[in-house]
C-alpha cells in the first residue's frame, strides 16, 4: 500500500512540475502548454466525442492485430517446441526478423498492403507475433516431461494431451509473452497511424503537432499514457484470474 501511494506522489509531483515550468516561463515555448490547459482541452474533446471515436478506432485495429499475431505466435511456438526440424529450418529466419524495428519496414508494408486497416493491423500482428512465439516455444520446453509422460501412461490421446495438459501448462508463458506484446502493439499501431493514412489517434497526434496545437497534441499523449497503463492493469487482473494456480505455487509472473 505504501509503495503504491509513494509512486502516485511522484506522478503528481511530475505533473505539478509540468504545470509550474509552463506557467512560470521556466520552459518558454508554445510547444509546452500548462497541464491544466491540456486537461481542459482533453475534457472538451472527450465530451465532443472526437477523442473517444479516434481511440476506439485505434483500439479496434490494435486488438485485431494482437489477436492475429497471438494466434500465429502460439501456432508457430508450438511447432517450434514440438519439432526440431521446424526449429532448425525457421529458427534463423525468426532470429533475423525479430530485432527489426517495425517502423523501419512500414514503407514496404505500404507498398504491399496499402495505407488502411490492412497495413496497420499487420503491423500490430507482426509486433505481437514474436514475443508470443518465443514465449510459447520456451514454455513448451519448460513443461515438465513427467506431466506428459504421465498423461501418456494413462493413455490420454495426443489431441487431448495437447488441450488438457500441454496448453494449460504453457499458458503462463504465453500470457507473459502476450503482456509484452500488448504494450508493444499499442505503440506500433499508433506509429503506423502516424506514418500513413488518416486514421486513429496516431494521425490526430501528428496533425495537431503540425497545426501548432500543442494542447490537443498533449491531450492525445495523455490519453495514450492512460490507455497503456489501463491495458496493462487490466491484463494483470485477467492473468491472475486465468492462471491463479501458477502464482499460487509461489512463482512470480
Amino acid at each position: 500500500m505504501r509503495r503504491v501511494s509513494s509512486g502516485v506522489w511522484l506522478v503528481l509531483a511530475l505533473l505539478l512540475l509540468w504545470e509550474v515550468s509552463a506557467r512560470t516561463g521556466l520552459v518558454d515555448s508554445p510547444n509546452w502548454p500548462p497541464l491544466t490547459r491540456v486537461i481542459a482541452v482533453l475534457g472538451r474533446d472527450i465530451v465532443s466525442g472526437e477523442l473517444p471515436l479516434l481511440v476506439g478506432s485505434t483500439l479496434a485495429r490494435m486488438f485485431t492485430g494482437l489477436a492475429a499475431g497471438t494466434v500465429a505466435g502460439v501456432s508457430f511456438g508450438l511447432l517450434f517446441g514440438a519439432s526440431r526440424l521446424a526449429r532448425l529450418v525457421l529458427g534463423p529466419t525468426v532470429e533475423l526478423l525479430r530485432p527489426i524495428p517495425i517502423p523501419a519496414v512500414i514503407p514496404p508494408l505500404v507498398l504491399f498492403l496499402g495505407l488502411d486497416n490492412g497495413m496497420k493491423i499487420t503491423v500490430g500482428a507482426v509486433t505481437a507475433f514474436f514475443p508470443v512465439l518465443t514465449n510459447t516455444a520456451q514454455g513448451l520446453r519448460a513443461v515438465e516431461a513427467d506431466q506428459i509422460a504421465m498423461a501418456r501412461t494413462f493413455g490420454v490421446p495426443a489431441w487431448r494431451r495437447l488441450s488438457r495438459v500441454t496448453l494449460p501448462a504453457i499458458l503462463p508463458y504465453v500470457l507473459a509473452g502476450l503482456r509484452v506484446a500488448l504494450a508493444l502493439t499499442l505503440v506500433t499501431t499508433v506509429v503506423a497511424e502516424m506514418i500513413a493514412g488518416e486514421q486513429g489517434i496516431g494521425h490526430y497526434l501528428v496533425l495537431m503537432q503540425f497545426a501548432g496545437r500543442a494542447e490537443e497534441m498533449y491531450a492525445a499523449v495523455l490519453v495514450l499514457a492512460f490507455l497503456g497503463y489501463a491495458l496493462n492493469r487490466g491484463f494483470v487482473v485477467m492473468e491472475r484470474r486465468l492462471i491463479g494456480w501458477f502464482f499460487a505455487t509461489g512463482r512470480e509472473g
Binding site: S29, P30, N31, I106, P107, V110, L111, F112, G114, L115, M194, I195, A196, G197, E198, H203, V206, L207, M208, Q209, F210, A211, G212, R213
Partner: protein
Amino acid sequence: MTDITRRAALGAAIAAPLAAPALRAQALTKMRVSVIPVLDVAPLHAAIAQGYFAAEGIEIDTSTTAGGATGLPGLVAGQFRAVFSNGVSTLLGVREGLEFRFIAAASRAMPQPPDILAVLARKGGGIRTGKDLEGKRLASNTRNNIVWLRGMAWVEKTGGDWRKVNTIEVPFPQMADALANGQVDACVSSEPFVTAALQSHGEKIERIGWPLSETAPGGTNAHYVGIAPDLAKSGDLFDRFARGLHKGVDWVNERRGRPELIELIANFSRVPAERLKDVALPAYPKEITPAEIDELVATMQRYGLSGRYPTGASLLHRTAQA
C-alpha cells in the same frame, strides 16, 4: 403468399427512392489523392468543398499524411491516383526511372516577398547571410526537397558556400524552439510555421531572408503528380480531375486575403484561423511550363543532386500544359 409478395412490393417501393441517391453516389468515380496539410493544397480542398469534383463525376478521397513521405511510394504502389509533392522529390524519383508525370501545378513562388519560405535566425546572433552560416548549423525539414534546395541556393546567393553549411533535419513545428534555444543557428521554415514562430518567439528570432523570391522569383514549388501508365489508361479521369482542380484554383485566387479562404485553410490544416491572418500565401497557378521544370533541374544539378533527367516538356501530362 400474397401477404409476402405485398410486403416485398412494399419493401421495394420504400427502398427504391432510398436507393436512388446511393446509386448516384456510386456513379462518382472514387479517386484517392495524397496530400499534406500545407497552404499549397488549398485549391484542392476548395474544389472538394465547392463540389467542383462532384460536378465532374469524381469523388476525391484525400489521404493527409503530416509526417511521413508515403505519397510518391504510395503512387508507385497504386495506392493513390495522384499525389501532392514538391518538385525536387518528384524529379529525384524520375531520375531513378519512376514514371512520374506532372498533372497540374500546385504552388509557385511569389515574384517578390512575402512568400512562403523564410530563413530565420536568432536576433543578435550575428547571422545575416549565407556567408555567416559557413561552419554553422542550418535546419531544414528534410534534405533533398524543395525547402532544402532553395535554402542552399539562398546560402550561395548571399555569399556562402553551401557545402560548408551543416544541414540538420528538424521538423517544421520544432524549428522555432531549436533556433531560440541555440540548437541550430538558422532554419529554413515554411508558412504557417514562419508566422507562428515570429509570433511566439518574436523577441528572440527574426527573418533574414526569403529563399524562394530571392533565388527563384516565380519559381516552381509543388505539383500534383500521377504515374504515366495510369495517365495513359484513364486520361479522361485526369482531364476531369484537372478541370475540377482548376476551378478550385480560381476560387482560391478570387479570395486571397479574404476570411473564406482563411476558414478553408483552417478547416483542413486544423491551424486556428486567428493564427492564419498574417500568413503569406504562395501563388496558385494552374499550368506548368517546361522552362520552370528545367530551371528546377538545373538548380538541383548545381546543388549536388546530379544525374540524367528528362526534359521538362516530356514530364508534363497534357492537363499541366497551357
